[in-house]
């Protein structure tokens, strides 16, 4: 085992290298590009064996990824934001092929307005596609999750592609010390890819991804994918257990931090959950019984684990780094559906924050905790709201005034 100082992107590339992937269809997009550049460099210099091909779009990239997986090789790919959206048709198509592979998504806000910085709206657009989703909070997790993802994807009970998600900038461009496992240990954990009957061979004719005529067949095959995704809950637990035994790092489907006696629990995914963790420590010092629940697995949705952790709490504060237009935070709605009508269901508070790279400050965590405490006392949850300060709004108004002045200036006749 060696220790390297890696960015999240570097960790993703190392994950693919250690998984000894055969094939990497690629397309550059900020903030993902470092992943494919790193892999390309290794392949070009002969430091790892694999083939990287740059397609002309993410839509084509995902088609090539699915087609190669359907031909029987281990495939890795990566994208972000607009690229993920551009590939969306194939993102929904390839899970139905039951062709397993792994894609890293480096989360970035989606247009419009166009931005480079992070939130989770992109990855949540893939929520219902049939891809499984693992959400990471550290660079170490990115590397480890890529290896775990292959185990789940290729399992005979699952056979579905998996997305490993990391936050753009916050993880993708931030260096952390990362334990790099030995290849022999990885090989024990992740055996050589067995395509089973998923292949094109001259001696074994097969038609894949064929059309169906009628809703009965369609429903059957779609529901099969759903059931396979649900199977992944158990398969994930197995893989995570074995991973912990092999490498000494524990990555449960749902991570609970200082939750044992917590009355108020923050609920977050991804890198910003580490900020919540820090806030929990400081709030604990002030005597508040507060904790954090962070699902790593989003699809399949670890409903039973979430119920076990959250029923009986007084308040759960859901912080969504995404926005479903006309509804609000996606995780808030999902968690509500998991807890609704259950004995001991907590009050749910909904905050949307951290959009497009906007920070969530310690003070904001304290404020949310204070509102949660109040809600626990009154039994009434405040309306969902956006984390946005008065100072920010003042700055925004200044920018709007400048934009208005610019427009007037430009429109003036010479």
């Amino acid at each position: 085992m060696s220790r390297l100082l890696l960015t999240g992107n570097g960790a993703a590339a190392w994950g693919a290298r250690l998984a000894e992937v055969d094939y990497v269809p690629a397309f550059p997009i900020t903030p993902q590009t470092e992943i494919i550049e790193t892999l390309s460099g290794w392949y070009e210099r002969g430091e790892a064996s694999g083939r990287l091909v740059t397609l002309e779009s993410e839509h084509s990239m995902l088609t090539a990824a699915g087609a190669a997986a359907a031909t029987g090789v281990r495939v890795f790919t990566a994208t972000s934001s607009q690229g993920l959206l551009y590939a969306m048709e194939m993102l929904y198509a390839v899970p139905g092929w039951r062709a397993p592979f792994v894609m890293v998504n480096v989360s970035r806000g989606v247009a419009s307005p166009i931005t480079l910085e992070s939130d989770h709206t992109d990855i949540l657009a893939a929520r219902d596609s049939g891809f499984l989703q693992i959400h990471c909070a550290t660079c170490q997790e990115v590397l480890d999750s890529v290896l775990i993802a292959y185990r789940i994807a290729e399992d005979a009970r699952v056979r579905l592609p998996v997305i490993v998600n990391q936050d753009g900038f916050t993880l993708s461009f931030t260096r952390e010390p990362v334990e790099n496992p030995e290849i022999e240990a990885v090989r024990r954990f992740l055996p050589v890819y067995d395509p089973q009957n998923m292949e094109f061979r001259a001696s074994r004719p097969v038609s894949q991804a064929v059309a169906v005529l009628g809703g009965s067949q369609y429903s059957y095959f779609r529901y099969e994918v759903h059931l396979a995704a649900l199977n992944a809950l158990g398969v994930y637990e197995e893989a995570a257990r074995e991973f912990a035994a092999q490498f000494g790092r524990n990555h449960p489907a749902v991570e609970a931090y200082r939750c044992d006696d917590a009355e108020i629990v923050f609920f977050m995914l991804g890198a910003f959950a580490t900020k919540a963790q820090d806030a929990v420590d400081r709030l604990r010092e002030s005597g508040l019984r507060v904790g954090l629940v962070r699902p790593r697995l989003l699809r399949p949705y670890p409903e039973a684990a979430l119920r076990a952790l959250l029923l009986g709490r007084r308040v759960v504060v859901v912080v969504d780094q995404n926005l479903s237009m006309g509804k609000g935070g996606v995780h808030y709605a999902e968690l509500a559906s998991a807890l609704y009508g259950r004995r001991g269901a907590p009050l749910l508070l909904s905050y949307v924050g951290g959009l497009g790279g906007r920070d969530i400050s310690a003070e904001e965590f304290f404020e949310m905790a204070a509102e949660a405490k109040m809600a626990a006392e009154t039994g009434v949850a405040p309306e969902p709201r956006l984390l946005y300060t008065a100072g920010e709004l003042r700055e925004m108004r200044k920018l709007q005034a400048i934009a208005q002045a610019e427009r007037v200036e430009l429109g003036r006749k010479p």
């Binding site: 055969d22 094939y23 269809p25 083939r51 091909v53 397609l55 002309e56 779009s57 839509h59 084509s60 990239m61 088609t63 090539a64 990824a65 699915g66 087609a67 190669a68 997986a69 359907a70 031909t71 029987g72 090789v73 048709e89 194939m90 198509a93 092929w97 094109f200 061979r201 001259a202 001696s203 004719p205 097969v206 038609s207 894949q208 991804a209 064929v210 059309a211 169906v212 005529l213 067949q217």
Partner: protein
């Protein structure tokens, strides 16, 4: 490479006597695309993975049946060439790593209609050619979005009536062959099912090459072009003898016409066979438009004949 490619086709007697593609597909009676696909598959043989783009032929493989003796993978309307890239690369990797033997290898063949080929599939195909992908591309061109009821596409000829051009299509059929040739692929050709020997020779030639090889087949379409299904072969022949559909091939920087119709039948004789051009003849002859269409064909052959 296909087992069929070992022999050399010189005359009509050398063509396979039985079809490889299974019967009972849901294609329309008299389908000119299916005619071409039959003839092409007979030459390519069973060691073929068809990578399909959304179109009429997508319904060839409808669960639980498939007429294919080799492989088939439906992808999407825009990205079949990228699918071929994935299949080809995967097979190459498996060969390199010794995970499959040479006799398990297959040829990746895109099967796409004109709707995909002339439009949203062009970017993926252009990129596959520039990367030098070792694949065949078969376009069946029925000059419109046939599977959805024949709306005009980038392949619709000027003046043709479609479901979205009731008074005749105002644009011009895009020169797909020229676009392909501009990429300098290993091979490009035009074919038609009604000329099976010319088609077979070209497919056989393409099958023996490496690199990007692109073939477009004009595909008379009884439902889309509005004619009796029994006339598919005759209309196909007229497309060639009138000079509307030049049969040609490209390799190593040269374009060669494999059939120069001489004398050429007037274009009118071809147009008259199809309901989609009926408005050029009745209630009044549209002399200007007819002369314009003939002039374009004449100009082409003045350059190439």
């Amino acid at each position: 490479m296909s087992e069929a490619a070992i022999r050399t086709i010189r005359s009509i007697k050398d063509l396979p006597s039985a079809h490889l593609l299974g019967a009972g597909t849901p294609m329309c009676a008299g389908c000119g695309s299916l005619e071409a696909v039959h003839e092409i598959y007979d030459i390519l043989g069973r060691k073929t993975v068809f990578v399909n783009a959304a179109g009429c032929m997508t319904l060839l493989s409808a669960y639980p049946f498939t007429p294919f003796r080799g492989g088939w993978l439906y992808t999407s309307m825009a990205s079949a060439s990228a699918g071929a890239q994935g299949v080809r690369d995967a097979l190459d990797i498996l060969r390199e790593k010794g995970r499959i033997t040479a006799d398990e290898d297959m040829t990746a063949v895109v099967l796409a209609g004109d709707g995909s080929t002339y439009g949203m599939g062009m970017s993926a195909t252009s990129a596959a050619i520039e990367r030098g992908l070792d694949f065949l591309y078969i376009c069946y061109d029925n000059e419109g979005y046939g599977n959805t009821g024949q709306q005009y596409s980038g392949a619709t000829p000027h003046g043709a009536k479609t479901a979205t051009s009731a008074r005749g299509y105002s644009g011009d059929k895009k020169d797909l062959f020229a676009i392909w040739v501009a990429h300098r692929p290993a091979y490009a050709a035009t074919v038609i099912g009604a000329e099976p020997l010319d088609l077979a020779k070209k497919i056989e030639r393409a099958a023996r090459m490496k690199g990007p090889r692109l073939i477009t087949a004009l595909a008379p379409c009884p439902t889309g072009w509005d004619y009796d299904p029994k006339d598919t072969v005759e209309i196909g022949r007229l497309a060639v003898t009138s000079g509307v559909w030049p049969l040609k091939e490209y390799s190593e920087g040269r374009i060669v016409h494999t059939r120069v119709p001489h004398p050429r039948v007037p274009v009118e004789a071809y147009l008259k066979t199809q309901g989609r051009f009926a408005h050029l003849f009745a209630p009044r002859r549209n002399e200007a438009l007819l002369a314009g269409i003939q002039a374009k064909v004449d100009a082409y052959w003045a350059e190439w004949g």
